[in-house]
């Protein structure tokens, strides 16, 4: 049953990159502000209309980034009365959509702005070491755990052991995703890629090769949400937020309840699909966080697109590539389009573009319902959003 306060997405924007770096000169907050402005203007709104502000990032820590919404609100000179700085890793933005949806339904806010920005590539701030050896990490970092790839590698190793999944299965995902990137002029890596290329790329953390890993780029993106009622007077074509769910299980990979099974995706996915009243066969396009190839395989199984352990078979034969039966990660994903550290924002933006029919060469014909699933941390958190053409 439709209600005037049903949540919809009315604006999106992302920053252009060249060779994975921002093309405009601005600080990390400057890029956040530019995409925020672009997203509200695309919707036919103004930044001064925003009363809900949601963000997550890795910038300015320690320092002003510790209070990210506060710092961003100051920069934009807006005074939100609904804020959410939930940071559960790269899936934070799917959770933000859920939280904004609830605030909109409740009448707690009218226009919600979700923003992300990262200049990690320009700053060269990304490395494999990472996590300071405090609290739970005192039992992991000193052993030389490559972070985060080592945790994903351990999950992949376990999945291979339990279900016979192969490196070729994982490579299918990287290759299919690259084919989508080749159809996206904004994607960072567009050169041809074969399964052999993936398998012969440098081994980073066994069994994961370099080309099983996402890119390291800059990136900024923003999403504007409001109610269906308010959207009627706006110029953009709204996309409805029909369902959502979120969950997390652990931070240290050693605490993951089952390394071959992605419980947060299972819980979040079930809840989101039930809320939306959709089944797997209703989904036309799928955007799944691809920090690593194994992340996708575990997500597909946990979300119920195939049985647990059958992910390898499911993705074989380039099923997820352009022209395949299961259009997935249509922008080229974190593996080939961009990965600024927290990719969940860009999964949502691509899903909205697909449902609007704005994807040009990579447009999925007749896309009406999309499933977006983010994963954050070290397979720690999951958040699912079901979007529908209004």
């Amino acid at each position: 049953m439709k209600n005037g306060r049903d949540p919809v997405i009315v604006g999106i924007a992302d920053a252009s990159l060249k060779d994975g770096k921002f093309v405009t000169n601005a600080s990390v907050l400057g890029h956040a502000a530019l995409v925020a402005k672009a997203a509200v203007e695309e919707a036919g709104l103004k930044l001064s209309d925003v009363d809900g502000l949601l963000t997550a990032g890795m910038w300015g820590v320690p320092g002003p980034g510790q209070l990210a919404t506060v710092t961003l609100g100051e920069y934009l000179n807006i005074m939100p009365t609904f804020v959410d700085g939930t940071n559960i890793g790269g899936s934070a933005f799917e959770a933000h959509v859920a939280h904004a949806a609830m605030a909109l339904r409740e009448g707690y806010c009218e226009v919600a702005l979700i923003v992300y920005s990262s200049d990690q590539k320009s700053l060269r701030s990304r490395n494999l070491g990472g996590r300071p050896s405090v609290l739970s990490m005192q039992h992991e970092t000193p052993y030389g755990m490559p972070t985060p790839v080592g945790g994903y590698a351990m999950a992949a190793q376990r999945h291979m052991h339990e279900y016979g999944t192969t490196s070729e299965n994982l490579a299918e995902i990287a290759v299919a995703t690259r084919k989508w990137a080749q159809l996206n002029p904004e994607a960072t890596r567009r050169d041809p890629l074969s399964i052999d290329d993936v398998l012969s790329s440098t081994m980073i953390s066994e069994p994961l090769h370099l080309l099983d890993c996402c890119l390291v780029t800059d990136g900024a993106g923003a999403i504007v949400m409001t109610t269906a009622e308010r959207a009627r007077d706006l110029k953009s074509k709204p996309v409805a937020v029909k369902g959502y769910g979120e969950a997390h299980t652990h931070w240290a990979i050693g605490e993951m309840p089952d390394l071959a099974r992605l419980l947060p995706a299972q819980k979040a996915g079930e809840r989101a699909m039930k809320m939306a009243g959709v089944s797997h066969s209703d989904i036309d396009v799928v955007e799944i966080y691809d920090s690593f190839t194994i992340t996708v395989l575990l997500s597909l199984e946990a979300l119920g697109f195939c049985k647990i352990g059958e992910g390898g078979d499911f993705v074989s034969g380039q099923r997820t590539a352009p022209g395949g039966r299961f259009p997935m990660n249509t922008s080229g994903g974190g593996l080939s389009a961009l990965h600024p550290g927290m990719f969940g924002m860009f999964l949502l933006i691509e899903a909205v573009r697909q449902l609007r029919g704005d994807c040009g060469e990579r447009q999925v014909e007749g896309a009406e319902t999309a499933l977006v699933h983010g994963t954050g941390g070290t397979l720690s958190s999951g958040a699912t959003v079901i979007l529908q053409k209004d």
Binding site: S133, Q138, H139, P142, G150
Partner: protein
Amino acid sequence: MITEKPLPVIDHDSAPYWEAAREGRLDIPLCGDCGKHHFYPRSVCPYCHSDNLSFDTVSGRGEVHTFTIARRPAGPAFADDVPYVVALIELEEGPRMMSRIQTDDPENVHIGAKVEVTFVKATDEVTFPYFKII
């Protein structure tokens, strides 16, 4: 440039564990109510949430639950170790703990391999429980 390896920042939860390791024992928390061991050390049992906990010396035996061979180091401090094996060990008593497999033959490590603790002194303060294949 010599880059020092990261050392654990020992806190009140973990101090007895690290102290035991220094003395060549693997001591982990045992719940006086549900009877389960857990790792890493916490102030409440992660299974029944009792705070009736004490440290118990365990066998130091277990098996490789999963692992990775690091071909790229986790930062420059580990560059000389490559390739090295980081493994999640499932102890006979149940809990899993992250550690290193001490081996000259990383290719030979496999899931299910039986292992035993071996203590490797890093500094006067810190001794790490590593594991070797038995």
